[in-house]
């Protein structure tokens, strides 16, 4: 099978910190692949090695069937890159910025077309310094798209944006997926990975700890639902060990007054829980059920939250 990107036994250390530890990745043509993990998991180092701007200590990286050591110039023409926290020149206008980046590529859409693609036509003459966070991020995306890339690298494209700006960016990325481009994106938002990615690799401490479609990963922890409730002040008296033995319940965690239960069968667990609470005489102040998410996968695998530390 052909891969848009293949990473084999990749390793990178910074002084005595192992950033990437024997990592394997395979990204198929046309898919949107997500690297999900907490800050410091090695996502950015990995993506920057794939982008050819950081060197690896050992291992093999093959991008679009080529290697950086042999085809750097050719590869640069065919990749679209958006880096984390790049600040584009503030004194230039949107149009001037995109035109500059466009001039580096042999082929690709016209400057105005790219600006239209990221919906910044109205801001074309505005200085970069006057753009909002979301607009800046869309401009960065435009700079990644000027060469009509086959493979697009997006490093935390929505970090620091408000919910509306995030949704707008997601819609844009959706559209590029329809064009058949391959996308590798990193994120520490599990909802973003679930929403955008066909397949996800969960990274922690420089290693992949899980790989698959979001559905598969969620299934792999054997839990489909999460049930959360709180019982006001009297919840402290709650005997959680009984809850564990309820029908359809896998695991129970109590955290300052609220209780989280991993549940396999919601229709059995909820009546059982209500029964039990009634028996113990504990009032219910809040009850929520939701489907399990990638966040739960991460918590199950590592015992930590994605945005801890």
């Amino acid at each position: 099978m052909n891969f848009a990107l293949r990473v084999h036994r990749l390793r990178k250390t910074f002084k005595d910190v192992v950033a990437v530890d024997c990592l394997d990745l395979e990204v198929r043509p046309g898919e949107c692949f997500g690297l999900l993990g907490p800050n410091g998991a090695g996502k950015t180092t990995t993506i920057e090695i794939c982008e050819g701007i950081t060197s690896s200590d050992s291992g093999d990286v093959e991008v679009l069937g080529m290697r950086w050591s042999e085809h750097a110039d050719l590869l640069r023409q065919r990749l679209g890159i958006q880096l984390q926290e790049t600040q584009l020149a503030e004194k230039l206008t949107v149009y001037e910025t995109v035109r500059l980046f466009r001039s580096f590529f042999r082929q690709g859409p016209e400057t105005a077309e790219v600006i239209a693609l990221v919906q910044l036509e109205e801001k074309e003459k505005s200085r970069v310094g006057n753009l909002s966070g979301g607009q800046k991020q869309r401009l960065a995306l435009a700079c990644a798209l000027v060469g009509d890339p086959e493979l697009l690298f997006l490093d935390e494209p929505t970090t620091g944006l408000d919910p509306q700006a995030r949704r707008q960016l997601w819609e844009l990325i959706d559209r590029f997926k329809l064009d058949g481009r391959t996308i590798l994106l990193t994120t520490h938002y599990m909802d973003e990975a679930e929403r955008l990615c066909e397949r996800v690799a969960i990274m922690d401490h420089g290693k992949t700890i899980a790989l698959g479609t979001p559905r598969e990963l969620i299934k792999s922890i054997g839990v489909e639902h999460m049930l959360e409730f709180s019982g006001g002040g009297s919840a402290r008296a709650l005997d959680t060990s009984v809850l564990c033995r309820l029908e359809g319940v896998r695991d129970v965690q109590a955290e300052n007054g609220s209780v989280r239960m991993q549940v396999t069968e919601l229709h059995r667990a909820v009546p059982a829980l209500l029964n039990e609470l009634g028996r113990q005489g504990i009032p219910l102040t809040e009850l929520r059920t939701r489907s399990a998410t990638l966040e739960d996968v991460f918590v199950t695998l590592t015992g930590r939250h994605l945005r801890d530390e």
Binding site: E51, G52, I53, D73, R76, Q77, L79, I81, L83, E85, T86, Q87, L88, A89, K91, L92, E96, R99, L100, F101, R102, S103, F104, F105, R106, Q107, G108, P109, E110, T111, C143, G147
Partner: protein
Amino acid sequence: MSEAAVASVVRHKRANDHPLVQLVLVRFREFLREPEALFWVFVFPILLAAGLGIAFRNRPAEVLKIGAVTPQLADSLRREKLLDVQQFTAREAEEALRTGKVALLALPASSGGVTYRYDDTNPDGRAARLLADAAIQRGAGRMDPVAATDRLMREPGSRYIDFLIPGLLGMNLMGSAIWGMGFAIVDARRKKLMKRLIATPMPRHYYLLSFLLSRLLLLVIEVAVVLGFGVWVFGVPARGSLLDLALLCVLGSMAFSALGLLIASRAQTIEAASGLMNVTMMPMWIVSGVFFSSQRFPDMVQPLIKALPLTAAIDALRMNMLQGGSLAQVAPQMGVLGAWLVLCFMLALKLFRWR
């Protein structure tokens, strides 16, 4: 042609933007949209030249202010036209001398003589002493044994402003090259813009070249402004070949740009870079002869001073403008500039950090 075909032709045509042209345009736009930079590069040297030119302008003839404490002394001193004599009481006189209001005091001494009080390390004091004494001796009836007449010449080229303009030009070449390179490069590195650029197919040498090219283009304006001002307002001579002068400016600017590139090659923050720039430039502002001749420093350090790029640039500019020297006459200075250019550039390329 179909609409699609037209569109594709248009697209093809527009797609031919040359990256180097775009990069140079960016440099220009960033510079022109920075009002402070415009001020320091264009307005400040003119203000400085104008201010100093006025302060040190040649007056019809230097009139020295002196004080006398008796009317008799004051009268005989007033016969000397080059002295401006004021009469004081003894107490006022002390005060005037101490605060530098007058360069010399004439006091009556016992037995009808005169005492001069002045600071012999002050050239004005010594000149006043000669003039005052001659006036008093002549007033008392001294006849000069040798008849002397004065023929005055006042020629452009020997005034302070003539000395100053080439100095300011050199200082400007250095400042704009080092600031222009240094801040822009370190800023781009700090904002990770440089890292973003090297992730594109942009040839890296185009990036550095764009700085040099925009520098050369701005140089034309900068030199024209300072030189034009000096020649037009103060009549500063430009005796050498203008082509030679242009070549010297280009060589100087390139040498300073290389130095700026070296300074900016690794710095990660604006603070670090501006510290380095000040450490580099400050000594040269002082010793390289911008405002006063570098010959005033001890002989022992002269070889060191002469090896500095700003000294070489200013010496060469003065030789060209004031003495009409040819390029052959400034070959040593050009050698110094060339050496700085090559060494700094090679070192900078070796050290340069792209991220």
